[in-house]
């Protein structure tokens, strides 16, 4: 059961080690230089190495202590919907314009909640879109197109 109990720390160690390796290997392709004349690769290479050491230590410590605890549930639906909502906004805000992009974004986000129902989510999305336009476009005078080129705006 040791492996199971240490899963949290092993995973955390793996994440840090992975990032460390990625940073270290990529920086190795840049000019390293010497301590006197450091190249762009020097500092990130050191950090990458440090991250690998820390990641491995976390994994080892977790394996020895084995009291990492349960990871718990992951709200997959919410994860997909929220990320989808954010990416949709970035992808469409320039071409669709603020109003339609934001409406869909907030609608997707609204559906991410537990026991979310469609009609309340639509109402929330419509009100929040109106509120945001009032605050950001009229209140704070941000120059955002309400309707974009795809809609002939």
């Amino acid at each position: 059961m040791k492996l199971h109990d240490a899963r949290k720390d092993l995973l955390a160690g793996a994440v840090f080690t992975g990032f460390g390796l990625a940073f270290a290997f990529t920086s190795a392709t840049y000019e390293i230089g010497s301590p006197l004349r450091m190249g762009p690769g020097f500092f990130p290479l050191v950090l990458g190495g440090l991250l690998v050491v820390l990641g491995v230590s976390i994994a080892v410590q977790g394996f020895l202590a084995a009291d990492g605890g349960d990871i718990g549930s992951v709200p997959w639906k919410a994860l997909v919907l929220l990320l989808g909502a954010i990416i949709f906004f970035g992808f469409t805000v320039r071409d669709l314009g603020l109003v339609p992009a934001l409406f869909v974004t907030v609608l997707l986000a609204g559906l991410a909640g537990r026991n979310a129902r469609v009609i309340p989510a639509v109402v929330i999305a419509a009100s929040l879109t109106a509120l945001s336009v009032l605050i950001f476009v009229y209140g704070l005078q941000l120059r955002l197109d309400l309707f974009g080129p795809w809609l002939g705006g």
Binding site: K8, D9, L11, A12, V15, F16, G20, F23, T26, Y30, E31, S34, P35, L36, R37, M38, P40, G41, F43, P44, L47, G48, L51, L54, G55, I58, G68, I71, G72, V74, P75, A78, L79, L82, L83, A85, I86, I87, F89, G90, F91, V93, R94, L98, T105, V106, A109, G110, A112, G113, R114, A116, P120, I124, L128, T129, L131, S132, F136, L144
Partner: protein, 501 residues
């Protein structure tokens, strides 16, 4: 040249209509997010950061700072009324404050919290004003080697007082430092880790990182469970203290203020620690310790004063040394950097209006907060009825619009999603996100000072140990690290933070 002239300049800056208005908006927003569980001051400040870009630096800082200390007031309201700390430092207040509410003394508890906080905030602001100039003068003698060592000390010290695994916190700092290197190298101008994407040349966007890490990742955390709450007290009466109450809270408020002012200066979770320590001090000092946990007014007065004093003195390291001690201060450092001001000892001399205006605004903000939190308490209680299913889509909307509006760059919006996933995974695996943000903000400075020092010293790294000030700072960093990993300290620390969860 004296402190009075400085304060006069501060009053001049803080009392302009615009700054007064944004101070009020800041503390009102702070109270709101402090009251509402599920969104904290860090996320709010990150969300509002883009909006402040068009402001004067002083106005921007005054509002953002107001959100932070305003949240300390709001957090106690939720703690007292529904036994759920809206903000981590209010966890202690919930112990006796909620018992008082159950006994029908919610009004007294709220008044104690607000007045204690106001007194503490006022005293701590004076403390900041007095300590700022000498500390900044000291730091003016710093060369790049000292600044490097100071940042190392700050980063290590910030994890000494944090909860959770020291190794993980260290790894989060290093990951933050590494993410901070993305973009053009400051010396040679050659791009690093950009994968040929021109959008990344300027580095990962600070706002995207903060919003993803603290805003969206937190929503995902909250959606794991059911976030329903019930307000026990619908109407709050008797918002004042009797003479007898007043005599009982006098000493706890004074002790809490002193404790909070001192601990707040330390990097890390100084204000959380301050309120916990104040609670145990009051329990020890009390003639009737058996009342604690059953609605002792001292158990509200002490910790509330302590956490508000600490929220004020936490600004000292950032304002005088340029060293942010926690996530909130890192956000303020980011706000300054975006305005083109490098946080550090020069700010007090080069931007006196900003510096003293901000300090005076603390006091004005605390005054606003007493007015907002006592007569208008009903409004905040009503806010508790806003369901989370309305709140979190609003956070997403604000995050998306705000981040996009900075550079009109869709890439920054995608970055939110990236950091949200990264943050959520890491939080799930037991890593606190704050050290990552600290590392990210301080990374470019750390690298610059390191390279500058070594260029001056002809590549001789021992210079960090042969310059006395730098060596002292590094020695302190080693001490802080040892304290963090010593088993006896670890156990005590965990005991303190356990109550928090």
């Amino acid at each position: 040249m004296g402190i009075l002239d400085n304060l006069a300049l501060g009053f001049e800056t803080a009392f302009t209509p615009v700054n007064l208005l944004f101070c009020l908006i800041g503390v009102a927003l702070g109270t709101a997010v402090g009251v509402l569980p599920g969104i904290g001051p860090t996320a709010t400040m990150a969300l509002l950061l883009p909006i402040t870009f068009g402001f004067e630096p002083a106005t921007s800082l005054i509002m953002l700072a107001g959100i932070y200390y305003g949240a300390q007031y709001g957090g106690s309201t939720t703690a007292i009324l529904i036994n759920l700390p809206g903000e981590s430092s209010a966890a202690v207040t919930a112990i006796d404050g909620h018992q008082m509410a159950k006994q029908g003394r919610a009004g007294t508890a709220l008044a104690t919290a607000a007045l204690g906080s106001f007194f503490a905030g006022t005293v701590a602001t004076v403390f900041v004003a007095l300590l700022a100039t000498p500390l900044a003068d000291l730091a003016l003698n710093f060369g790049p080697a000292e600044f490097f060592s100071l940042i190392v000390l700050g980063l290590i010290a910030s994890i000494t007082l944090a909860s959770g695994s020291t190794l993980k916190a260290l790894a989060m700092i290093v990951l933050g430092l590494a993410l901070g290197t993305v973009g053009q190298d400051l010396v040679s101008g050659s791009p690093r880790f950009t994968f040929g994407q021109r959008e990344l040349d300027g580095g990962l966007d600070f706002v995207s990182l903060a919003v993803g890490l603290f805003g969206v990742a937190e929503i995902l955390r909250n959606l794991e469970g059911d976030l329903t709450r019930s307000v026990m007290v619908k109407k709050v009466k008797n918002l004042w203290l009797t003479m007898a109450d007043f005599r009982r809270v006098r000493m706890p408020v004074l002790r809490g203020t002193a404790l909070g002012s001192a601990l707040g200066v330390l990097p890390g979770a100084g204000h959380v620690l301050a309120s916990f320590m104040s609670y145990s001090v009051e329990k020890k000092a009390s003639k009737t310790p058996q009342e604690f946990g059953k609605g002792a007014i001292e158990g509200v007065a002490g910790p509330e004063s302590a956490n508000n004093a600490a929220a004020q003195t936490a600004f000292i390291p950032l304002l005088t040394l340029g060293l942010p001690g926690n996530a909130v201060m890192a956000l303020l450092a980011g706000a300054l950097l975006i305005q083109g001001i490098v946080p550090g000892p020069d700010v007090i001399n080069n931007e006196p209006e900003l510096f003293w205006g901000l300090i005076v605004s603390f006091w004005i903000g605390n005054l606003f907060l007493v007015m907002l939190n006592l007569p208008l308490i009903g409004l905040w209680v009503k806010m508790l009825t806003i369901p989370y299913r309305v709140l979190f889509p609003a956070i997403i909307a604000f995050a998306a619009i705000g981040t996009f509006s900075i550079n009109r760059n869709p890439f920054d919006v995608y970055a939110i999603a990236f950091f949200a996933v990264l943050g959520y995974v890491l939080i799930k695996l037991g890593c606190e996100p704050a050290p990552l943000l600290l590392g990210f903000v301080l990374g470019p400075l750390l690298e610059t000072y390191l390279r500058r020092t070594l260029t001056i010293s002809q590549g001789d790294a021992t210079v960090f140990l042969t310059r006395p000030l730098s060596a002292t700072l590094l020695a302190l960093a080693v001490v802080a690290f040892l304290i963090a990993v010593l088993p006896s300290v670890r156990r005590k620390r965990e005991a303190v933070f356990e109550d928090e969860d």
